[in-house]
């Protein structure tokens, strides 16, 4: 095969990575420092904010990909959070001997078991939820909102049937309790663990999205699913996979949120739902990086304003969303969707 010479190829513009949204995190933290006054309090609040942000990210990452791939607005995502958290109360309830032990290893095994069971059950319910609730309303946004909200209500009621309507305690294992000192600042151990776990999930997700063919297909599908199908790939199978993984991650987030709050209520999912949508809108619908930064911003701002001006904390997330959307109407990292 001989190739002809071609001409008239223009130069390409310089690649400029968009780092401005990333800068928002240190800027927010640095602005908060003089307002808070005490460095130790600032360190404590920052870790609390980051931990909260990481948990929100773990829960919301699946939701943003589900929307990006199939334009599905799943208002029932919260049910997987609640389910995960309640599964953890059952699993850890059965392993009380392990969680009250002073052995870090036994504590870790108990928490990991709770997380695995919660993820498996949430993922399994995700398969049913997608088949029964989501699939009949593909491409019908209004019906999606109504039926997924209905699914959320039904799921919440079923959880009440199984575990009861009351709040259930979800205590931290012995080795996860208490704080460690960083200078004068006391940082709760569990918050550190949450930050590390969140970073691991973000790193794994980023690696999968950038280094595997499945990740490539997800990124491409978020932009133009019709073209992905025209290349010979079945986007619905991909979507089901993402939906199940997203549900499992919501289950994991539910365990972490429950341990963070140390108690679980059946309304947990519906309470967190609003926060999730704020995060994925701020980040740019379909963008995992945007979702990560959005979650961190929400976490930090909630903790800073909660300390500085508790009344402002009630609407700080909405305020943040308004400011971000005035600056970037399609979110921090808009996806080049067709």
């Amino acid at each position: 095969m001989t190739a002809p010479a071609t001409t008239a190829v223009e130069a390409l513009p310089t690649v400029k990575p968009d780092r401005l949204p990333l800068m928002l995190l240190p800027v927010l933290a640095l602005v908060a420092l003089p307002l808070i006054g005490s460095t130790s309090t600032w360190v404590t609040l920052t870790f609390a904010g980051l931990a909260m942000g990481m948990i929100i990210f773990i829960i919301a990452s699946g939701l943003t990909l589900v929307f990006g791939l199939m334009d599905v607005l799943n208002f029932g995502h919260g049910v997987f959070i609640t389910l995960g958290a309640f599964m953890a109360t059952s699993v850890l309830g059965l392993m009380t001997g392990w969680t009250t032990s002073t052995s870090l290893l036994l504590n870790l095994v108990a928490v990991l078991a709770a997380m695995l069971v919660a993820m498996s059950v949430a993922g399994g319910v995700g398969v049913v939820f997608e088949r029964v609730i989501i699939r009949p309303v593909y491409g019908q946004p209004l019906k999606q909102i109504l039926i997924t909200m209905g699914g959320m209500i039904v799921g919440e009621e079923l959880i009440k049937v199984v575990w009861g309507p009351e709040a259930r305690p979800l205590l931290l294992p012995t080795a996860f309790q208490g704080s460690i000192l960083m200078g004068d600042a006391a940082v709760e151990k569990y918050r550190l663990i949450s930050v590390v776990l969140g970073l691991i999930v973000f790193a794994v997700m980023t690696w999968v999205l950038t280094h595997t063919k499945v990740g490539l297909l997800i990124r491409a599908g978020v932009q133009d699913r019709e073209m992905v199908e025209s290349l010979g790939y079945r986007i619905r199978r991909l979507f089901i996979g993402v939906f199940v993984v997203g549900s499992a991650l919501a289950g994991l987030g539910g365990v972490m949120w429950g341990l963070y709050q140390q108690s679980v209520i059946p309304q947990l999912g519906s309470q967190v739902n609003v926060l999730l949508f704020i995060v994925i809108i701020i980040g740019g619908m379909g963008s995992v990086t945007g979702c990560f930064i959005g979650a961190m911003l929400v976490g930090l701002l909630a903790n800073y304003t909660g300390f500085l001006a508790p009344k402002v904390a009630l609407f700080s997330n909405i305020l943040l969303m308004v400011i971000v959307l005035l600056w970037r109407p399609e979110g921090l990292y808009p996806v080049g969707k067709k």
Binding site: M1, T2, A3, P4, T6, T7, A8, V9, E10, L12, P13, V15, T212, K213, L216, L217, R219, A220, Q223, D224, E226, M227, V228, E229, S230, L231, G232, Y233, R234, I235, V335, G336, K338
Partner: protein, 245 residues
């Protein structure tokens, strides 16, 4: 004319309440380049999308290598060896040129998995693809995006290429590059169905031609016959323009 690779018989397509294709009969011979001409709204793009399964066939049959593919899903149609370059090019702008190509090479997980000889041949046709291999496709110019769209369709051998208006909005120099690339593709006996509005572009490439109007094929024959008969051009293409006004 060689044996038919693709045959549409009495194909009707509805999009919502609109009846777009109204009994399309079209034959695409194997190893030849067939051009589909016609004014805006004649149904050319809908014909390609119907073949690709992106719009459902309401009636009639779409036969590829003797198999009726009219009711298959788009991925199944693509897997039978049909590549599609849409009018909007379908470039994944947030992905690099390399990632766009890896997706098109269905069995490749990484760039190294692609056939190096084939890749070098594609780079020979479109050198910009090699130069901007690791750049986000969204940064490419319109002409480079069109080259990427075609490069993606030919990164692996395909039995049939469906290409929708590759010259649209391109500068004359880039159009000449495209013509050179398509002429090279023709030498490999690739079967191509090309939708075009630019008759000068189409004339230089087409073996066969079909003219559409009002959702039907109103003329089919060889490009040589149409190119050599100004009266026929006036009647077919002029008639189309007049009916459009």
């Amino acid at each position: 004319m060689s044996e038919p690779l693709l045959q549409l018989q009495g194909v009707h397509t509805h999009i919502g309440a609109y009846h777009i294709l109204q009994g399309v009969d079209l034959t695409v011979p194997k190893g030849e380049l067939t051009v589909l001409l016609g004014r805006n709204g004649a149904g050319k793009t809908t014909t390609l999308r119907t073949i690709m399964g992106l719009w459902q066939v309401s009636a009639g049959s779409v036969s590829f290598e003797g198999e009726n593919i009219g009711l298959l899903a788009t991925p199944d149609i693509a897997q039978r060896g049909i590549a599609y370059v849409p009018e909007n090019m379908g470039i994944f702008s947030d992905l690099t040129v390399a990632e766009n190509m890896i997706l098109a090479a269905r069995n490749a997980k990484r760039a190294e998995d692609m056939d190096p000889k084939r890749l070098e041949w594609v780079f020979g046709l479109f050198p910009a693809m090699k130069r901007f291999w690791q750049h986000p496709a969204g940064l490419l110019s319109g002409g480079q995006k069109q080259m990427l769209a075609v490069a993606r369709a030919i990164v692996e051998p395909r039995k049939l290429l469906l290409i929708d208006e590759p010259s649209k909005g391109l500068a004359p120099a880039i159009i000449q590059n495209m013509i050179t690339a398509f002429q090279e593709l023709k030498r490999t006996d690739t079967t191509i169905l090309l939708v075009e509005q630019n008759f000068n572009f189409a004339r230089q490439l087409g073996d066969q031609v079909a003219v559409m109007d009002g959702g039907q094929i109103v003329h089919s024959g060889t490009m040589a016959d149409l190119a050599g008969d100004e009266g026929l051009q006036q009647r077919l293409l002029g008639l189309s323009l007049a009916s459009h006004q």
